[in-house]
Point group: C3
Chain length 200, copies 3
């Protein structure tokens, strides 16, 4: 179940990367790399920083195949993207929840402090998109528009609060994902933004 | 003493990041990340490249707390920044000296060649700012304007020359910092620049 | 022989970085860093991701000296660059072939899957240029213009096909390099491009 959600999230992230790259008029190689980096960039950065090498996707080819599939789908359906926007948004939100949990887990496994684990969860879920935006020569969208990373941080806090209750691990994971996914859906529906800090 | 200077430098670097991000109209999450990355980015890059993982700030929460403090101070005092410019410049210069020394030391500890140690010192002191500028979609300021990295390189050379004299370690560290800090103050006062290389 | 080609490739990559940086009006420190990063950035990224630390150039000063030489040559000959364009293009193509092979080899040495080895070869040969372009605030040229990375991927596939024939290792390496170098020369001569994917 959790593994299936990971795959769905990976596809959604790869497609978001591919579609950004297509709109920037990159060639197919560029589109593939941006798709790849958007999907695994956050986890790669996390693995490199904690010393978990060779990084994850080098040891599990499933990610490579799934991203290749997402790349092909993006190219085939690139003209119908507007109709798929809602499904993609849902998949992306699932990815946000699952990737945060995977990052939290890696930090816990090597005994890092909860604050650092939350940072790793947020990095896993959000920094693929940051690298995508840098490669496309944009200021990363999560630094200036939507509430996105903030939701991962909240999800991480909820996770450690629930963990104190000694819940069954499945319930712990599912509740945290549910919290992240619900806040994200509400944030977009009700247009929650962080205020820009004015200098004047 | 040295540790106090490290903290002062971290605060100064984080504030320089936060103020750049505020002027780019990022949201508070973006401001925090840019502050964080400016303060610890150089050291993180160094740790990743030498294989010192999990990277430094993941194992010492003090940096996280200090950067959070600098973030709050930057937001509170963002309108008074012009009055604080001189103090911030001094703190930043202290950071330049201390971070260079920390980088040199990590290289020496694992037995790398002095040239590589100087590269690590320069990276520690300067590449947080490079990552800040890339995330803010600018060509890094240290590649085109001020003498900044060059001072770290000079400081590193002085360090290894003094080291041959078998000075007491405290004196070695303090003299190198003093050299870096004095050159930087003079460079700004007398407007020393590296010439741009003209193609014509 | 192979080592000599590695040196020629490093010089070519460093000069391509230096000349890009000069055209962006960076100062000499900026020019040196961009030259350095273009030459060793791909291999550094590879080493960090597979956990081969301290990364290659920290353990073999020869690269540092060769890049310093390329930097000096670029500055001296920067006004004659147009006349040198053909030689530089040839050197760069040699670098493309050699760096791909070095990346493939590192992956094989630690037992990674051929697909991942090909990714490592492509990364080694192409991502120095990607980092150069990001530092110069451009969308990486290999994502939008020339066939370049695609040739490394083809070269990698040829390598593993030839490897099945149990050729002598020297012949295996020379044939793969020859394939990469020939395709690149033809791609430029006959203006082969990947098509841009149109959204409409």
């Amino acid at each position: 179940m959790f593994h299936l959600l990971d795959i769905i999230g990976t596809i959604a992230f790869a497609m978001s990367g591919a579609l950004t790259a297509i709109s920037k008029k990159l060639d197919p190689f560029g589109v593939f790399i941006i798709a790849f980096v958007t999907a695994v960039g956050g986890g790669t950065l996390r693995d490199v920083m904690i010393g978990r090498t060779p990084v994850g996707w080098m040891q599990d080819l499933e990610y490579v195949y799934v991203i290749a599939l997402a790349f092909v789908l993006s190219i085939l359906f690139r003209r119908k993207f507007d109709k798929l926007r809602t499904s993609l948004f849902l998949f992306d939100t699932i990815g946000l929840g699952v990737f945060t949990l995977i990052g939290l887990e890696k930090g816990i496994n090597i005994g890092l402090h909860p604050i650092i684990c939350i940072a790793l969860g947020t990095m896993t879920a959000c920094f693929g998109g940051v690298i995508r935006d840098i490669l496309c020569n944009e200021i990363p969208v999560i630094f200036r528009k939507e509430i996105y990373a903030t939701i991962c941080i909240l999800g991480g806090i909820v996770f450690f609060m629930l963990k104190k209750l000694h819940l069954n691990e499945d319930i712990l994971y599912l509740s945290t994902s549910a919290v992240i996914i619900s806040i994200r859906l509400m944030a977009v529906k009700y247009k929650w933004y962080l205020p820009v800090l004015d200098r004047n």
